[in-house]
């Protein structure tokens, strides 16, 4: 069976909603971070797929993907730094334990 655009889009949508689901249900900050990565990667997949099947002669989608990977790496570093600090002050990385910042 030839893998077409629809297959890839289906995969990327599935990945996206798995990420969203994880983001809302997990309480552990590291898992939440992983869910965010999933969402980002589903977007990457979308870019690559459209690039390959619609405009095979151009590289715009690929460039975007490279950028997103770079930004995701930076974001992961910042997020982990925040998580470490949170752990130091709360002795936990549970999001529900860190909710002092409110009205």
């Amino acid at each position: 069976m030839q893998i077409g655009l629809n297959h890839l889009l289906f995969l990327s949508t599935a990945l996206f909603f798995i990420g969203i689901y994880g983001f809302f249900t997990r309480k552990n900050l590291v898992t939440i971070l992983m869910s965010v990565e999933l969402v980002l990667n589903s977007v990457n997949l979308n870019f690559i797929a459209f690039n390959k099947y619609l405009w095979p002669n151009r590289l715009d989608g690929v460039f975007f993907t490279v950028f997103i990977i770079a930004i995701a790496a930076a974001e992961a570093a910042v997020a982990i730094a925040i998580i470490i600090n949170l752990y130091r002050s709360h002795q936990s990385i549970d999001v529900e334990k860190a909710e002092e910042l409110k009205y």
Partner: protein, 644 residues
Amino acid sequence: MPNAIYIALIPLLPLTGFLLLGLFGRKIFKNSSGIIGTVFLLAATLISLYTAYGYFFDYGKVNGIYQKLFPFNYTWLTFSGNLSIDMGVILDPISVMMLVVVSFISLMVHIYSLAYMKGEERFPTYYAFLALFTFSMLGLVLSSNIFQIYIFWELVGVSSFLLIGYYYDRPGAVAASKKAFIVTRFADLGFLIGILVLSFYSNTLDFNTLIQRLTTPGSDQLKTAVTSSFLGISALTWGTVLVFIGGAGKSAMFPLHIWLPDAMEGPTPVSALIHAATMVVAGVYLVARLFPLFSIAAPDSLHIVAYVGAVSALLAAIIACTQTDIKRVLAYSTMSQIGYMMFALGIAKYGGEDGLGYTASMFHLFTHAMFKALLFLCAGAVIHYVHSNEMGDMGGLRRKLPVTHITFLIACLSIAGIPPLSGFFSKEEILLAAWQQNKTIYWMGLITSGITAFYMFRLYFSIFWNKDYNDHHTSATKGSWLITLPLIILAIGSVISGFIPFGNFISTDGNHLETGFDAVFSAGPVALGLAGIFTAMRLYKKQSNRPDKISLLFKSLYKTAYHKFYIDEIYLFITKKILFNLVGRPAAWFDKNILDGLVNLTGNTTQIISEKIKGVQSGKVQQYAIYFLAGAIGLALLFIYWWN
């Protein structure tokens, strides 16, 4: 003219003194501040005298006419191409004369205060304020444009306020300083509007150009200023009257005089300097400075000046007869004498012999500064000795204070117009001018002069004769030489200043003016003065009940005069009852209920709504993410919906 920059030093030296004493006085110059202030002022006085000598005898006169000189002019604020506020210096006979008066009297007061104010806790502050006042007053007389004079005018008002309220722990002094400030500020509003009107029609703020443009017949500015009118009165008349209101406020003219008697709450040397000799004549000086404008372009305003002056002179003289606080008597006498100067200006005409009133007014200003400062300083010496302001506590002091007694007598004779003292010459000149121009005013002036002689000698006999002084104050301080020296110098000034031929120096157009006095004409006023003195002697030389009997005879008149014709009460009625109730209270109600209500309404509404919706910000990150996702999906749906 020779190097002129040194003239700027005259006001700047006291300013330096003020900054020095004001900033460091309390810490560094605790005891030497009086000396420092006096030395600065001595330097300023010497430069003033040098300038006066140079102006009157060297470079001031060109072809027999005294010129207006502008040693320098510095553009300070530019509004438009042809309108700017300058900081300049004008030298003409009246400004040079005032320069000498202000710096000389101020120097006397500085010396006197060295002893009088000794031991006061805020001694450096006192000298700082004194220097500030002297700076502002010197700046005022040297101002070359009408806005500059306004700036210094306000500075003078502030320093007067500060010095009246010097004893700030006395409620009376605080109330008096506020009263003085508010009344003169109110008058200054008129002055400011007057400045705006005059400068609007003449397109300039500079005195010289302004007068030139508005007095040249046929000039465009004069035409518009005369033809445009408000309430049937020409703009030019409005402008000059408004400026005169400012002058009347500062010079304590009826009906804006109410602050002056209360201002006597300040230290006595301050009363001598500010509220007798210099600041209160600022109004006279202002009218004299704009005199060509008043007399050529707005003669109606000059009539107002004349009648306001004459009424003030008479009214204040009557009130002075009934007061018992010696400083208040002197305050009313000051008001009366300034009334003289005002009406002398009011009856003068520009140019030639008809300008006699102008010369006489300036002459009287000069001699009055001498003898009135002397009277106040003597009163200060007496108060220092007796520790009371009331006539009843005094009497028989002639042996205790011999120098004060003699100098006070000289000043009294001078103000009563007894020849050959200075007051005689200047007063005769004023009365002569009034006789030539306006008989009504002449009679008012004549009656005033008789009353003046009476109340001054009432004061003299009550202080120095009357009963024997029983010396229950063993600690009473004899005057040191620092107190008697200024008294003697000023007494000499009061004797000889009458012989200065003022007509040679000051006249409306700068020309020489022949001022002789007519022995036959003078006989009447002098006889009246002597009659006043004699009456006072009969009543007050020996302690008796005659004054009380007479006051009972004219009971209602006496009571009215004793209560200063109820003018203070009228003011209080107008402000408290009418203004407060009809304007103040509704305005306060509107402010409290409507304006504040609107502000509170917005505040309360915001608070109620925010109370309701604040739960959204729960601190739970994932909840935020849900809102975010819902928003994003909503936007996406909206987008899709519109796309098709």
